[in-house]
């Protein structure tokens, strides 16, 4: 359920703060998935801060490599402590580069692509059986839609008309080796495919927080919803945008300062 009031400036400020925090953490480790987290920052922000009913709804980061954005939001909400974040990817810590079920706030272990939507389908179905008000929010990468298992899950969610399942595709158009649009032209169109599988589907600018909120507010509530969010990998830092190297690299101290300056514009 979305809140009635939505303030775009507040959303922008939150996202800048989250990006800054991720950059801070990036200086404590050799490598971290900065760009995959930046491409879905607005998506995960509006899910947690504009859509989810605390303690009722479920969030699953199917693109587990984007989990830094989830960690910093969970830190802000007090679910994860700063001490835990300080031990990210370090001995004695429990936060790794992919989410691990059992960690506070983490509803499923992901990291291997193509698992999160199937688990989400099971969770959404269970909640429907229990006649609860729980919605399941799942964020997937576009690459995950190359996994057969994702399409098994799409088909099953359509069969079951799981209207309490809301999935977001972080469509940054980058897979590991190449742009989806170049290497896999038949990957598009996307909304048509989802609709043919029994879903409602809508395409929006994935960095436009209000468009994301509207997409979910305006859903029919009759079937599962896929929000195809067109995004930019590395969004927010010009030299990271569209550059595959930033999939898994921490900025150097100089790059860090430069990146912070760009982020700061939105913090004001």
């Amino acid at each position: 359920m979305t809140r009635v009031t939505f303030n775009i400036d507040r959303a922008r400020g939150r996202c800048a703060k989250y990006r800054r925090r991720i950059l801070e953490i990036s200086q404590t480790v050799n490598a971290l998935h900065v760009a995959p987290a930046f491409s879905c920052t607005e998506i995960v922000d509006v899910i947690y801060n504009e859509m989810m009913q605390a303690g009722v709804d479920i969030f699953i980061m199917s693109k587990g490599h984007g989990c830094m954005i989830q960690y910093v939001i969970l830190e802000e909400k007090g679910v994860l402590s700063s001490e835990e974040i300080a031990l990210y990817c370090k001995p004695g810590g429990r936060l790794g580069a992919h989410p691990d079920y059992g960690t506070p706030g983490i509803e499923a272990s992901t990291g291997s692509l193509g698992h999160g939507l199937g688990i989400s389908v099971g969770q959404a179905y269970a909640e429907r059986l229990k006649q609860s008000q729980t919605n399941v929010y799942c964020v997937l990468s576009d690459g995950e839609f190359q996994e057969g298992s994702t399409w098994e899950a799409m088909l099953m969610a359509g069969n079951l008309r799981l209207s309490n399942l809301i999935a977001f595709m972080d469509n940054n158009d980058f897979s590991g080796l190449e742009r989806m649009s170049e290497g896999h032209p038949a990957f598009y169109p996307l909304a048509d495919k989802a609709q043919a599988f029994g879903w409602d589907a809508i395409e929006v600018d994935g960095h436009d927080s209000s468009a994301l909120v509207d997409a979910v507010r305006q859903r029919t509530n009759d079937r599962p919803l896929l929000v195809i969010a067109r995004t930019v990998k590395g969004k927010g830092v010009s030299f990271m945008e569209h550059e595959p190297i930033w999939h898994y690299r921490s900025p150097s101290p100089d790059e860090y300062v430069k990146a912070l300056k760009e982020i700061a514009q939105d913090l004001a």
């Binding site: 499923a108 688990i119 099971g122 269970a126 059986l129 229990k130 298992s149 098994e152 088909l155």
Partner: protein, 305 residues
């Protein structure tokens, strides 16, 4: 086995609303049809889609339900293997993966339907419990245990239909985590599990006719293995024989490793499926015989050993 599993699940499902059955276009007949008719929401057919069968089961278990995922063993365990590993084992969820036609019981369907490595593979997974009942009564006991346990995922290997009763005269009951003596004897002890227990009992009877006193002990729970129970058998008997319907890297290697660890003096002979695919057809017994697993062949080798 299949029918007793279905009857037991139906009885349990009537009183426990957490129990759900997820199948991938293969269903145990009879009682599961009753379950489906009475509780249509708790019976899900994913169609020929085993990855979502396991993924959904994981999600449902995370929200407090107790799903059983059911299909032919090869498709229950091999096709969605990484989902079994990551979604069920890594997350340690109480989901029972039921593999029907485990071992080589689909004797005319060819190697695509032979789960000749299922136990070995399932045993290698952290957090996985592995159970292989030998007859309908053990199937019922195992199903009851699976429906109420809190340990995590289970691979429950069943045969097909029509398996005979082998355990009504057993001197010990089925208990989780321990081996079970079906008959006692002093000269030699056979360790076995699953449908091939029938052959093991035939072997024991034939050896008995030749003057040997032979014990038969089933190992219905392959993981966690009853290390104490097997160790005491290794120290009590001068001869121990393993008969299993799986490749060698299952009970056989566990017993050999344990014997080495405890310094057992027992002579050990193992009879198991070979490390090769099967290109012949016939009855279940015909297929087992092609890998040296017929009672007369085993008896001959034991007498020669």
């Amino acid at each position: 086995m299949r029918n007793r599993f279905a009857e037991t699940f139906y009885e349990l499902g009537k009183v426990d609303p957490r129990l759900c059955m997820i199948v991938a276009d293969i269903s145990p007949a009879g009682s599961i049809t009753k379950f489906r008719n009475e509780f249509p929401d708790r019976f899900i057919n994913t169609g020929v889609s085993e990855q979502i069968m396991i993924g959904m089961a994981a999600g449902m278990a995370q929200r407090g339900l107790r799903p059983f995922a059911y299909t032919i063993a090869t498709f229950a365990l091999y096709r969605p293997f990484e989902f079994v590993r990551d979604d069920l084992c890594y997350q340690k969820l109480p989901v029972t993966v039921v593999g029907i036609g485990g071992g080589v019981s689909y004797s005319t369907l060819g190697a695509t339907h032979h789960a000749q490595e299922d136990i070995a593979i399932a045993m290698s997974l952290p957090n996985m419990t592995v159970i292989a009942p030998c007859d309908p009564a053990e199937t019922e006991a195992a199903t009851r245990w699976c429906a109420t346990q809190e340990r995590g995922p289970v691979y429950l290997r069943l045969g097909k239909a029509g398996e005979p009763d082998l355990t009504s005269g057993a001197s010990e009951p089925w208990r989780f985590g321990v081996v079970r003596r079906l008959r006692d004897g002093d000269d030699l002890c056979i360790l076995t599990y699953g449908v091939i227990t029938k052959t093991a009992l035939e072997v024991a009877a034939q050896l008995e006719a030749k003057g040997m006193s032979v014990a038969v002990v089933t190992v219905p729970i392959l993981k966690p293995l009853d290390v104490d129970g097997i160790s005491s058998i290794l120290s009590r008997y001068r001869r121990v024989v393993v008969i299993e319907e799986c490749v060698r890297r299952a009970l056989t290697v566990e017993v050999l490793a344990l014997a080495y660890q405890v310094g057992a003096k027992a002579k050990i002979q193992a009879f198991h499926l070979q490390d090769e695919f099967i290109h012949t057809y016939g009855t279940h017994d015909d297929i087992l015989r092609s890998h040296g697993l017929s009672a007369p062949d085993i008896v001959k080798q034991i007498l020669a050993g």
